[in-house]
Symmetry: C2
Subunit: 522 residues, 2 copies
């Protein structure tokens, strides 16, 4: 910190960020001590974020030559800890003007991230401070839990104003999770035409293409030429903000082709659209699940795709930015579910919400753990006469559990990405059983030796080895068959596979080891 002179603004902190966001941004924070007698907060912050063309080194030079003390760091987000702390301090002081001057220059996605980072009481203060300056785009960038909180803090007319300004897919995204009466209240304040479009989208099933599609699009008849098309684009009013291809439709509005924008642009004006359109295109029925939509985009490297209704008529367009979100969300969901988090959960949840979320899964696990204990209890006498069994038995169960989890993980992911399909299923089942057998054999040799040496009992080592082979084969089998079976019955294999697989490996592990011991050793 430099000296503070009353009445002077002295920069005490310069932070230079070079992030992949705005080219290069720099921020200087000035501490201002007001002259004695003057009222006002004794400390003010001013932030300047510039996304300018000066290079990182130029700014470092500025910071250096102006003798600003401070630090130079590289961040990949404008939400540095120092920045967030400043916002928090301004909030605590109730200085809404400073809060706005800090937050408003951020891009909507960053504003959303800030809202997600703070505690719920801070969230309330922040939303209040921003007031009607809160941009509609921020709402659509928010994750669900926080978005619900923010919307609750907003007046219906503000929500309606925001909804009106949004693309139709974002509007649907905001409205779909609202309670029915609030939804109605907001929709009543939206102009009739937009309201009708939103309501039609809301009629499609949740997580379907109809929900994530954008209704504004550019469609032209095949007999127009490039010149007519460009003229139309220059005049038309209700076009989407950005679009990447032009759809060609027949008189009944069925898509018959598509032209990437770059091709329109590279073609001379008199050429008919018909001559440059691609006939092969990906049409997405509006009821398609968003996960299947994402797989199509991923596979065929699509940027946008036409959505059609049950009469094959063009009703909207899905763009890749929505799909990117779907891919990330579906992956997060799979990861969570595989880890035993069944319902949606986010870092901003409270303790009670989180505890409740996780309890049900742990309860199921408790039941399976008790089942395993019951199996052990069958061999109470055996353990009594040979405590070494109690010492070694967790190894058999644990190895089986881990091998089963490996197989299950690969199977669940392969099912999600459609790499595991009927045509290669039997080959993969065979492979997993063989892998289980081979690794079982290797670890049987290892553990057989360890067990025999530890307890000076070759026969115990033999029993341990045999149980290991049996359990590893079962692990391979269960690891592949359980996800396949769940998938066949329409249950998401990510949710329930692991509990079934580990139950199998626990029960089989304990039973094989203790059972063999009872027969061979006693």
């Amino acid at each position: 910190m430099t000296d503070k002179k009353p009445g002077f603004a002295s920069a005490f902190f310069v932070e230079i960020r070079r992030f992949a966001g705005p080219a290069v941004a720099y921020k200087a924070c000035f501490e201002h001590t007001p002259p004695a007698g003057e009222s006002g907060p004794n400390c003010r912050f001013h932030t300047c974020m510039a996304s300018d063309q000066r290079s990182f080194r130029d700014i470092a030079h500025v910071a250096d030559t102006t003798q600003l003390s401070g630090q130079t760091e590289e961040w990949d987000t404008p939400l540095t800890p120092a920045f967030v702390r400043e916002v928090m301090r301004a909030l605590d002081r109730g200085d809404e003007e400073v809060v706005r001057s800090l937050v408003m220059p951020l891009r909507p996605a960053d504003q959303a991230e800030l809202l997600e980072l703070v505690r719920s009481d801070e969230l309330r203060a922040l939303v209040q401070a921003l007031g009607s300056d809160l941009e509609p785009d921020v709402l659509s960038e928010l994750e669900e839990a926080v978005r619900d909180d923010v919307i609750e803090l907003m007046a219906p007319e503000d929500i309606a104003a925001a909804v009106q300004e949004m693309d139709s897919d974002d509007a649907v995204y905001i409205l779909e999770d609202m309670p029915a009466d609030e939804q109605r209240e907001v929709l009543e304040q939206v102009p009739a035409q937009e309201r009708a479009a939103i309501e039609r989208s809301l009629e499609y099933p949740e997580d379907s293409a109809g929900r994530i599609m954008q209704r504004d699009l550019v469609a032209v008849p095949p007999f127009w030429d490039v010149g007519q098309t460009i003229d139309f684009l220059r005049e038309a009013q209700d076009l989407p903000d950005e679009f990447y291809e032009i759809f060609v439709v027949d008189p009944s509005y069925r898509p018959i082709g598509t032209v990437p924008l770059s091709r329109v642009m590279r073609t001379k004006r008199p050429v008919p659209i018909e001559d440059i359109m691609d006939v092969e295109q990906t049409l997405i029925p509006a009821e398609t699940d968003q996960e299947d939509v994402a797989l199509q985009f991923e596979k065929y490297d699509l940027i946008s795709a036409a959505v059609v209704d049950e009469n094959e008529r063009l009703v909207g367009v899905v763009t890749v930015d929505d799909v990117v979100e779907v891919i990330a969300d579906e992956a997060s969901e799979d990861i969570r579910r595989l880890g035993g988090i069944v319902s949606e959960e986010s870092v901003s949840d409270t303790v009670v919400e989180t505890t409740r979320n996780r309890f049900s899964w742990l309860f199921v696990n408790l039941l399976t753990a008790i089942l395993a204990s019951v199996v052990i209890a069958l061999f109470e006498g055996t353990i009594q006469s040979m405590v070494a069994l109690a010492i070694l038995m967790p190894i058999v169960a644990s190895m089986g559990g881990n091998a089963g989890t490996q197989t299950m993980t690969v199977a669940v992911r392969a099912l999600a990405t459609r790499d595991l399909v009927p045509i290669n299923t039997s080959r993969i089942i065979t492979r997993e059983v063989l892998v289980g057998f081979l690794n079982g054999l290797l670890f049987a040799i290892l553990m057989g030796a360890v067990g025999a040496l530890w307890f000076q009992d070759p026969l115990l080592g033999g029993v341990l080895a045999a149980a290991m082979v049996i359990n590893m084969i079962m692990a391979g089998l269960a690891g592949i068959l359980v996800p396949l079976g769940l998938d066949r019955f329409g249950i998401d294999p990510a949710v329930a596979s692991s509990v079934f697989v580990t139950t199998v490996t626990d029960v089989v592990g304990f039973f094989a080891f203790l059972g063999l011991a009872a027969i061979v050793l006693l």
Copy 2:
């Protein structure tokens, strides 16, 4: 099956597919029995795939009125089991012509999927049958393991021809994993200019923006007007196949702005580009890791972004289709690693490869399992005098392991998506410990009761309950601190977290339960 008349082609199988790929495709397979005396295979297949504008019902009608027997099914891929079987049969017969007639009409991504589906001997036959008809785009769609196999089957000059035809990012993708000498051999046959571009890209670190970027792009000076820009696009030769924005550069080729193509198109010819460009843009340094690139695309809903070198000069463009792949791949990697699959693995790996891949992780697990057994062995005497402990102890360890895995899963994913950042870390640690405590308390009550009733021993129930609380709190702590610690040391938390967490919960679980039992019960 219908009657077979020699010399006549009788359709015996009609399959109608309505998938999100080509609008509507239908396939009719005709069985041809040659007239007596004529040689040739007695059974021929002909396939017709049309991506036409006729609706699903139209085709069903055709199938119906022409009295074709067969089945009608909906698939979201043209690679139906029946289709793949046909290809396999043609391969077995060595009928390369039929194989080509079946495979060539598929889109490149579907051809790639077919190559990924088949066994390695079938792959060889398939690649041979397709010969030089194998499209370059198929190569870039293949997953790594299969791509390596296919490339090994191709002559260097064929690879060079393919590389020349590809976008530069795809060429790099093909070449980067080749052995150095083969890479040189291929590159020698590529024209000097393209070779230089590819070699420059290969100098960037693996998995960096420099590797996934496309070198062909459209850059214009700010003083050009829209008309000049469109004329330039109509005349220029070496432009990318598709592009979505135009970059504005200064005389030293530093990006100073960007214009989405749709905006260029909607603006009148005399308007200067300068007036319609966005100054705020996302610049990606070429060394940026692809995962960070993906996070930027996801956050800011980008379609393409400029890549700059260390002098801030424009060197390429990353487009969202590459990013979609990165997001899916990185998610798959995290899922695999969390499930204990440390190295890359795919459904087409062999038994030996898979066994080797998984052995190392299982070996680490064996060591931790032995550690847990050593802890149990400390209490050999305690167990000897009370076998109920051996029966109940897996429950304590298992519940701790599952609770720890839940916390760890959330933490690992939140770290990957940058939702867990320094500013909210302490809040989340507190939350996880509290959640562990609360759930620990709930399950302590449950299990305490079960234990007490099962073995008619309230004191045993009390010990079980206390151990449960202790282990659940430890699970919460380890579940959050282990990933955070690994992340701090630059280790991917997805790889190593679970082994550390379950070691903690096993050791603490056994130690707390058996230790308390030794003190309280004996």
